[in-house]
Each structure stands twice: as structure tokens, then as C-alpha cells.
Symmetry: C2
Subunit: 385 residues, 2 copies
């Protein structure tokens, strides 16, 4: 006997296409507003096209093969992944052009990546040390395949990558000489500038990092190892990266969904976040507290809490904000003029931080207007390996 | 072709029982130290037995049927669940005595709970409003079964429950008259006192809530509706609840795993947390930053961040603390006298907050000494519905 094997999604599956189905979801449910999502995908593609930049969006934000396919249909070269498990889950989901954007240290994972390459994937990896270059080279040759390789440059994030031109050149030379590897260029992710709210401050921060990057690119060119790919950037910096003309492609992730953490960022210098809050978590008012507040059925197991609290929307109007109330619950603090919502009301909440929030959900409930129109599996949910 | 369908757990499955397997895990992996876990389960059982309290542990912390079974083998009456989906997943995992500790508002979920009761579950629910009593009664009768019912009392958490003796009596009377329901008593969860670090301050807080509870219990007895069950309490309060003699059973959850959020709580007034950090996340050093720090492969997708940062252990010794470094990574800040750990080293980290951390993992890697000895599925992972 199976009472509800896949959670809310199994129940919501039965109402796909029905008028008003979006307002009758079993909750908590991750909702993707398809119209806002499509607008976000088109805006980034267009902004980068005008700036002469390619797009290689970061799939760590969505972990969803269908979203990757739609990003590629809008012109993306491929997608980035933060972890081998995330990459392999998307490869199994049919996405074949994948860049692993962080170093790894597991021979088992390196071997699995080589098997994906041997099975037809175009697998790109980044390296920041000689032994990792040898390990990728050995694995590729063992499986009769090859990896595309970028040298990872540290332009200020202090997480991975080499920080000097000399090291970059030495590693590029090693890659260039390895028979199982193709030297393609560099990765330089300036993660710290993405969330600087003020446009001019962010521009200054991006320029400072650009100077470090320019020095390393110059050294590689002088050494006869000009990088064909210079990959980096993100949702916060992509317009500025177009001005700088150092990157060849942008790894933006959050732009597809957006979140409250990005909502205060003046992304294009016109005063706002530019991209729309396409990802929402639908929750239900499950009761009223004795103090008269509406209590909802989503807490830290449905939302990653590391960001400003969610705004609550009902029929397109903002009716309040969530205050967390345990790991499974929230309390709606109503906007002035709004009463406590009736028990049973389904509302949609923005998310504090989109990437780890998506990782909590097995399915995206794709909605347009008042209808639920599809469920998209989040294939790489939980794949942090 | 399936490269790694279940993530790290599928790879780790192959090394179960091997000497040293605990130090060779593919990561990130949730590790349950079996010896510490068993000590925690036995300590709570013994403390409550001495105080004349039953234990009905909260499964929201672990979401794992095997842990529920072991809690019951140690004397627990059943387990609590925070959500219908969590309850149904554990019921399908073979756990049959289940208390839903929060109100709900979905007819579909109420129906699913009644089906679980009809299929042999002893399903207890809490109510804090008349329409919910009617809905549970209707569903139970429709399926030819019944629910055990507790009246939910608000003793200060301001999330659910009625806050006056008169309301408690009115609802108890309604339940008592409903043919599909069995009036069993009350729930009174004093959530706000659990994390008060100082023992005497927590004792005072618990007493203040006890006075509210005592008034409501008195009114129910006077009305001829004496509660057989008075359910509440938690990891932080259980010893104090034994002094108060108002509760009949304890809903503690975190004690099985423990976390950094509880580590500062003087639980038994003897200066420490009493319970052991049985849940850890194993992570691997995947590289060294250009600043010379070890970078690990676990961030907000493997740990819930809402608590103090993890301590890092290697071979039983604390070697540092984690500083978060993006959603997938951490940086080890070494303890004085410790060098940067070599790339490839697997370390175990305590968790900031156990409940939402477990919810990120499909399996618990059960370890004893230096060996991985089993994988336990987290059946209700993601079941926030």
C-alpha cells in the first residue's frame, strides 16, 4: 500500500492543467513561474549577446536537466556544475556539455567523470595543481577519452585557483603537454563581487579583480598559451564583465530563479535587480496562532534560511513577510491593511537564497497564470557528492 | 548506463565492513556514530524512566525508520512527526505508532492519515480548532477507523494550540463526543525554553510555562475530561519536566544526534550538553586555497547553516572549525598547532543544527570505530508535505 510515495508532487501531478490548480497545490511545493523564468533566461541571453559574451550558466542553482536544456536552447554553450555528482546526475538526465567548476580529490569521482566523457559527454574540468592534472590525464587515457581543461585562477575568492601568473603558466604548460587533456583556457570566478548591492561599488570591485586577471591572461599569452575560454562572472557582474572585455563567457546561475539575497542588488545600474522572482515556495496557512497570526507549513526544510525573509504573495499581491517559526513552519507578518489569511489559503513565498532552496525539493511545479502545467524533476537534488 | 545513481552512498555501500572504511568515504556523507547514538538513546530513556516519564521521541530530527525502531526498542511509546508526509513515509517504513504534532488544513492529507489508520497505524493527531476536529472525525468514520486525539495547548510558543482553559475544555468536549475520535489528552510543547543555555534560567522558564499548563490541566479535570496523556518537552527540558510532574511523556528529538546549537546548553545542570555529537558530516579536503587553507566539499547543501559553525575532527581529535565558503564548500580554520590538512583527507564535522541537516541526506552512514557498518535510509527526507 502506497499512501503518498512522492510527497506533495504525487498529489499535485493529478491536477496539472486544471484551471486554478496553482492555488490548490498540496504544499510545501517549489513553484517555477514559467513566464518569469523565460523572461529571465531571455534577458541574460540578450544582455550577454549584446556584450559579445557567451553564456555557460551555472546549474548549481537549479540542478534540473529541463532548465539546462532551455538555457542551451537560448544559446548557452553548456552548463557548469559545482560537484561531480551534480554533473553526473545531469549527464544521466541528457545534458551532455558540462563544466565542473571546482577541484576534486577523489580518484573514484575522477574515474566517473572520465566514464561520462567516454560515454559521449563533453566534460570540461578545472585544475589548480599538478597532481590533479595528472589524475585527469591518466583517467582520460585509461578510458580512451579526453577532458577539456581550464586553469583555475584565484582573482580574490581565496577558495580555489592559482594566484600568480607564473603558476598559471606552469599549469597551462602541463595541461598542454598531457595527451588526455585539451588546454582550453582559464576560469576566474570573482565570487565576492556578485552581491555588492551598489552598482558603482560593484563595478570598482570587478575592475580590481579584472586587473589581477589581465595580468594572468597576459602571462599566458606571452608564454604562447593564449586562453580560448575565459570563464567566470555571475548574475551580479555579467553586465560589468561585458565592459571589462576579459571574460569570454558568463557562469551566471541565480538569474533563472532570483532570491531575496539578490533583490537588493542594482544589477544593471538602473536601480533594481532586473531579473524576476521566478522561484517561489507555495505554502498553506495551516492554522492561526493564539496571537492571531497565520501559520504556514514551510520552514528550514523547505527554504534555505541564509538570506532576507520571504515576501508572501496571494493572487499576485504582496500580503506579508514570513517570520520563521521552527524548522517546518512560518508566521505571516501581514502588510498594513491586510487581515490574517484564512486557514487553508495557499500563498507563494519568495526565497531567501535560491541555490540551497532548490536543493531541498525533488520537483519544480511549473506554473503559468493560475495553472500548474508541468512537474520538472530536480535530477541533481541532493547530489553534493 | 548508470554512473552513480545514488550519489556517494552507492559508492560507499561497496566498502561496508572494511577496516578503515570510515576514513575512506566518498563525501559529503552524513555519518552516524553508532556508539554515541546508542549512548544518547539509552541516556534519555534512563533519565525519563527515573523521572516516571514516558518517551515519544520526535522523528522530525531523524526522519529514519530504523532510528524510530531503536527508540521504541529502548522503551519509546511511539514517535512524533511534524508533517503528514513525514508520518506517512515512516508508516510506509514500518513504524506504526505515530503522533502528528502540528495542525493541518488539507483534506487530502487528512484523508491520507485516515487511510494509514485504517491500514493498521495507531495514528494520533493534535487539534486546536473545531473544524479540524470535525474533519478528522469525518475522515476516520469514512474509512471505518479512528484517531487518537490530543488537544494542542499553547503554553507560550505562539505557533499552534489554544491558550485558555475554556477553549481547551470546549475542544476536549467536542473530541470526546466525536464517534471517530478518542480523546486521549493534551499536547503542550514549550519550544522556547529548550535552548536556554543556563540551567537555572531554563528551569525558571519551564516553571512559568508549567503554571499555564497546570491551569489548563486543572480545568480539564474539573470538566470531567482528565487528560491521560500530557505530551511535550524536549531535549533541553526533559530533566526539568521530570521535576514539574505535569507531562506524562517527552517529545525530545535532537538528543539522538545533537548539534552545535545544543552544545552550549547545560542540559542536566552539570555544566554540559550531556548527549554526544553522534551525527557528523564527512567531507574531503578537495584543495588548498592560495591563502593556504584546506577547502572541504560541504557547504549549505550538506549542512543546515542555522547554528554555530562545525568543529572538525580527524581520528577523534578536533583539528579546526569550518568557515563557510559558498554553498558547496568550507574552509578549515585550524586549531593552534595543527597544519593545513593534506588534499584528499576525509574529516568529520559536527553540525550547526541537526534536524534540517538530516533532511539534506538520503542515507545515514552508520559507523562504529573505524568502520562503516551500514547505510540507513532517511525515509522521510524531503517529506515536508
Amino acid at each position: 500500500m502506497s499512501l503518498a510515495p512522492f510527497g506533495a508532487a504525487a498529489l499535485n501531478q493529478t491536477i496539472i492543467g486544471e484551471p486554478g490548480s496553482r492555488t490548490r497545490l498540496e504544499t510545501p511545493a517549489a513553484v517555477l513561474d514559467l513566464d518569469l523564468f523565460e523572461r529571465n533566461v531571455a534577458l541574460l541571453a540578450e544582455t550577454c549577446r549584446k556584450a559579445g559574451l557567451h553564456v555557460r550558466p551555472h546549474a548549481k542553482s537549479h540542478k534540473c536537466a529541463e532548465i539546462a536544456r532551455r538555457q542551451m536552447a537560448a544559446g548557452a554553450l553548456g552548463v557548469c556544475c559545482a560537484k561531480p555528482g551534480e554533473l553526473l546526475a545531469l549527464f544521466e538526465g541528457g545534458v551532455t556539455d558540462l563544466l565542473l567548476s571546482a577541484p576534486i580529490a577523489s580518484p573514484v569521482k575522477i574515474d566517473a567523470l572520465a566514464r561520462a566523457a567516454a560515454a559521449g559527454g563533453r566534460i570540461s574540468v578545472i585544475v589548480d595543481r599538478a597532481d590533479l592534472i595528472r589524475a585527469f590525464d591518466d583517467a582520460a587515457r585509461r578510458h580512451g577519452t579526453s577532458f577539456d581543461v581550464l586553469i583555475d585562477l584565484d582573482v580574490g575568492l581565496r577558495r580555489s585557483g592559482v594566484a600568480t601568473p607564473a603558476e598559471a603558466v606552469a599549469l597551462a604548460r602541463l595541461v598542454n603537454e598531457a595527451r588526455g587533456l585539451r588546454y582550453m583556457g582559464v576560469q576566474a570566478y570573482q565570487g565576492r563581487v556578485q552581491h555588492i548591492d551598489d552598482f558603482e561599488e560593484r563595478r570598482a570591485g570587478n575592475r580590481a579583480m579584472g586587473r589581477l586577471l589581465a595580468a594572468m591572461l597576459g602571462a599566458l599569452r606571452e608564454a604562447g598559451l593564449p586562453p580560448g575560454i575565459v570563464s567566470g562572472g555571475g548574475t551580479g557582474s555579467h553586465l560589468l564583465d561585458g565592459e571589462e572585455r576579459l571574460l569570454t563567457e558568463i557562469q551566471a546561475g541565480s538569474y533563472v530563479f532570483m532570491d531575496e539575497a539578490y533583490n537588493s542588488v542594482d544589477i544593471h545600474g538602473r536601480g533594481g535587480p532586473e531579473f524576476e522572482p521566478a522561484l517561489r515556495i507555495a505554502v498553506t496557512v495551516i492554522g492561526h496562532s493564539s496571537a492571531g497570526f497565520a501559520i504556514t507549513d514551510g520552514g528550514s526544510k523547505s527554504f534555505a534560511l541564509d538570506g532576507p525573509p520571504p515576501r508572501v504573495f496571494l493572487a499576485g499581491r504582496m500580503v506579508g513577510r514570513i517570520e520563521w517559526c521552527g524548522d517546518e513552519f512560518g508566521r505571516i507578518l501581514p502588510e498594513p491593511g491586510f487581515d490574517t489569511l484564512p486557514i487553508g489559503t495557499v500563498v507563494e513565498c519568495t526565497v531567501p537564497h535560491c541555490d540551497p532552496t532548490t536543493n531541498l525539493h525533488d520537483f519544480l511545479h511549473v506554473a503559468s497564470g493560475d495553472r500548474l502545467i508541468a512537474l520538472w524533476p530536480v535530477e541533481a537534488r541532493g547530489r553534493s557528492d
